[in-house]
Symmetry: C2
């Protein structure tokens, strides 16, 4: 039986991935030199299609790293001398906070209960952090932060660099990059690609900060410091031999989504999320974990299945539908259903039918 993965990522591959890989093999994409014109054309193609799809301003840099976790690491190294501030309401926001601690920075955090957003009006960010980190879509709990709240924080703290984790909301999330400084994601979520590529989007303020730290002899890391990344990205190259196939495939998926239309894709996502939330809101025992409607992620639908989690997962698996478990302490009681561009309405309907 053919399986369909509704897991938060790695997840179902974008339908044309096999075809794209075959094309890449035919065209020797995995054998070409990463300093060659052919590679530079791939970099340019991917960055261009990504900027178009996600409406990223021209003056923002696209860096290709190996994972979203690496993005966190490099952001801290390159923008923080002393102090970062973190909004933490789940395991991935906590990972960003922990990264700062592990790199010997003074990291402060505002915490919210898992499954809830923040009481933004009553959170005070003190001591002028150099970096403010927020997880726009918390993959571990299914809470999404209203982007307007993110812009408000940035307006209140214009001197701080604002880094936004959009790991499981991209390419759905409609982010105004001019109101933040930095965002990142990995490709095995909403882009439906094999894991092994992280994408970091940074503006000139981040670059200036990295240069300032370097001038003060604060280490900003080695081959993946922002200055090296920038110098290479300007030439459509990378510092080291990168995941060339991953970059190629990302470009192809972005091109395909651009052809389909970003508004149409967003609309599909909204509709599928409404179908799922409506169904679970009316379900006798499978309840959305995030109770507040406006805090609910449209791309990670988290359901409290209590003691019946294994049974529910099995029922779906028997019909070829693979959903995720909860994360961390919610591992044995929750299920997570991803709602990404490659997830079809018919399969969402199938989930609803099976669990009705």
């Amino acid at each position: 039986m053919k399986k369909v993965f509704f897991t938060p990522g790695p997840t179902e591959l974008y339908p044309e991935v096999r075809e794209y890989i075959e094309q890449a093999l035919d065209d020797n994409v995995c054998s070409i030199n990463h300093r060659s014109r052919e590679f530079m054309d791939i970099y340019k193609f991917t960055a261009g299609n990504l900027k178009q799809l996600m409406n990223i301003p021209d003056n923002y840099n696209i860096f290709f790293l190996s994972s979203a976790t690496e993005c966190m690491d490099r952001i801290i190294q390159n923008t923080v001398e002393k102090r970062s501030f973190h909004f933490v309401n789940g395991a991935f926001a906590e990972r960003f906070y922990k990264t700062s601690v592990e790199l010997n920075k003074e990291a402060e955090k505002a915490e919210a209960e898992y499954g809830k957003s923040f009481d933004f009006d009553n959170i005070r960010i003190e001591n002028d952090p150099e970096l403010i980190c927020i997880t726009q879509n918390e993959t571990s709990t299914g809470v999404a932060i209203d982007t307007a709240e993110i812009y408000k924080i940035k307006k209140k703290h214009p001197e701080s660099i604002m880094a936004v984790d959009i790991v499981t909301s991209s390419p759905f999330v409609d982010l105004d990059y001019d109101q933040i400084d930095c965002a990142f994601f990995s490709v095995q979520k909403g882009f439906g690609l094999p894991a092994g590529l992280g994408v970091l989007i940074v503006n000139n303020r981040c670059m200036e900060k990295a240069r300032y730290l370097k001038s003060k002899n604060v280490s900003t890391g080695s081959y993946h410091n922002f200055i090296s990344l920038f110098e290479n990205a300007e030439k459509f190259q990378t510092t080291e031999t990168p995941n060339v196939l991953g970059i190629y495939l990302l470009g192809k998926v972005c091109e395909s989504l651009n052809k389909y239309g970003v508004d149409k894709m967003r609309n599909d996502t909204l509709k599928k999320s409404e179908m799922l939330y409506e169904f679970f809101d009316g379900h006798p025992f499978l309840k959305p974990f995030v109770s507040n409607w406006s805090d609910r992620s449209k791309t990670i639908i988290e359901i409290n299945a209590g003691s019946r989690q294994t049974e529910i997962k099995k029922k779906l698996a028997d019909a070829g539908i693979i959903v995720g478990s909860g994360y961390g302490k919610l591992k044995d009681t929750h299920i997570r259903i991803a709602n990404f561009p490659m997830h079809k309405k018919e399969d969402v309907k199938k989930i609803i039918e099976i669990l009705s």
Copy 2:
């Protein structure tokens, strides 16, 4: 016309890569959870086959990173508080040295002319470096270091951790891991795989050093510090979502090479290298760059083509054979011919015929 890549890497893919990728897609390797039993089985399979192929002792850890360059970064972070020492006779050894400098360590180096090995008897390593780095096979110049010299250095400096770059000599090089502490490579060279995966092999001395640094509050990095890598590797997992497809493919190539026989593969490599060196030694104007026979790499054959480099490369390319240029300052005058397990004797003969 079908191309055959004799470039130093990225290079010609291992012949069965397309078939392995198709199998991976059929088996949902790119969609499975990286904490699942399926993924753990892949990790175990790959690490096991790699250990068998390269005769790596059981008590050495295999960590999957994203590139050889990342391996350098993590080795410095996790084994050096103050001081590292580097044998530098090419661009990649220089990269290792520079990594240490960029991470604010005191890095010292012994230099040798490009194209030459070191005058080992007259090099004094002073100030008790915590880490000694040597590039066993310098990809930028085609010089290979006799492993016996590496073991001698280690014997003279038993307190120092010995890290060996085998990026373009693995899996050919027959290294006695008990006489070193750490080695690393990337998969787009001798393993003929798509780029985006680095493999780091470390013993318990490296782990002890990382733990000691952590106890002293020296930052050993975040998600890819040795302690996190080890805790996950023990469970056949990784800290972050890794390049799952890359790990899977590496296992399949190792399995295939194990079936073929490592001695047979080494013998093939030696024979092909002899054919090439013999031919170029007798050539009127295409001369091996490394004059000393015992310093010549068996896997990277570097030829000084002088002003006729472009012409020679074109002549080969017209017959479907793609060779590499020289590296850095040797870019416009040298050619590099890789000699990896997937490179066929018939194609080596073809190179010789074309250039005769």
